[in-house]
Amino acid sequence: MSTVLEVEHLTKEFQRDDVATVALRDFSLSIEEGTLVTILGRSGCGKSTMLNLLSGLSKPTSGRVLHRGSPHSGPTPDIGYLTQTDTLMPWRSVQRNVEMPMEIAGTGKAEREAKARELIATVGLADFADSYPRELSGGMRRRASLARMLANGAETILMDEPFGALDAQLRSELQRELARLWSATGHTIVFVTHDIEEALLLGDRVVVLGPLGTVLLDQEIDLDRPRDPDEAKVDPRFVELHATLASALKKGARP
């Protein structure tokens, strides 16, 4: 298995005036091709900063980020990234937002319309294809963003709390959909979440981050797939892993 993304001794600082905020320090991580890695971490520990670096959107202060062996020269359509904040174009309807990556890739009109319609239906927004983002609820906007990211067709996908604003049922439906997509395509997925259960249900591997990007735990998840939420939760291995992750997370908090 080859390494798709590799972070080596990376430091990321944000400087304003004479103060530097160090978000990540000497952070290293590698993501193997075809794995679904979930990332857990406290609020403000640097998860989004890390994804920004992995996607090529921001540059490390020191250290390197390698994508398939070569340093990032900027964002690439080979990596899809669902950011934590909304970036739907407010002047485009949902349909046209989802078509956008295909427009840029040069896909024909008929094909991208059909594909967009399909993706919009997948995230349950078929009735809202013609709505503008401001006419959607928070969860609906999130789903529209998800559809747009999937329209990119990238083989490596970064997702920052994609399902946080959704109700339990929708979330598990989308989790199932994501797991299905992943096993069908062999994509590489890095998935940031706050929800330990979600991390366990989805991940091959869970990485728990502490302050400044210290890796508190890097755990293979050896649960059988498909993982049905209701069944998994009573599986003793699941319960055990849940406890391990929860205690690792607790360690992450400074006294």
């Binding site: 959107l57 359509p77 990596i79 002047w91 956008m100 990556p101 401001r134 439906e173």
Partner: protein
Amino acid sequence: MTTGSVSDTHAHNGLSTSGPVKETRRRSWWHRNRRTTLVWGLRAGVVLVFLLLWQLAGRVAVNPMFVSSPVSVWEQLRDWILDGTLSTHTWITIQEVVLGYVIGAVTGALAGFVLASVRLTYDVFEPMMMALYSIPKVALAPLFIVWFGIGIDMKVILAAVSVFFLVFLNTAAGVRDVDRGLIDAVRLMGGSNKDITLKVVLPASMSGLITGLKVSIPYALIGAVIGELVASNRGLGYLINDSAAQFNTAGVFAAVVVLTALAMVLNTLVGALASRANRWKPLDAE
């Protein structure tokens, strides 16, 4: 208000959803257009009041020569319309203004998009632009004549340069305010600089661009008219100059009225563009 039938809102696929329903609710003509009607009504009212006050001012003014009156202005306009003077001169001014406006707006917008993206160039050249624009063009009239002659070119250039600057600075300001998140989103889709400009920066900076287009309308007209005053041989500027020289204040005002009418036509066109571009924005009243 009529209520249509409840449309079919079952989820089409996959997910179970729980959302609102969409209903066809056709509004009456009055309901849809009452605001427009109100606005136009009020505008007409204000104009009427203004004309009335103007007519009265002529009666009480110390020196009515410098006030004229709506009635005499109208008479002058009628005369000019009948003898063809107005159409000839107006047509010339329209050509200059439209050409100058389009040239200035297109180059200004392009320069705004390009320079504002390259921050360094912008910072270096912005104060120089500013300096250049602070030169009172009327004062340099002799130079303009030497450089550009007294033909239509000179007037078009004068109109275009004023427009250029205003559109340029407004567009650049708009461009520099664009949400980085949206630009990043396009970069993540593999968008080129062209994609970023056309699909994000252009729509996002529309408000700045449109402000630029709006504020420059008067200066397009003024630029052309100043050109006509500099070397006055035709156009509305010539009419103004000629009337002023003949103590014909009504003539001056008549030409000015035509100019303002031109401005309002241009403004309406830009306004239509603006409301097309702003369709996605929430309405004020919710």
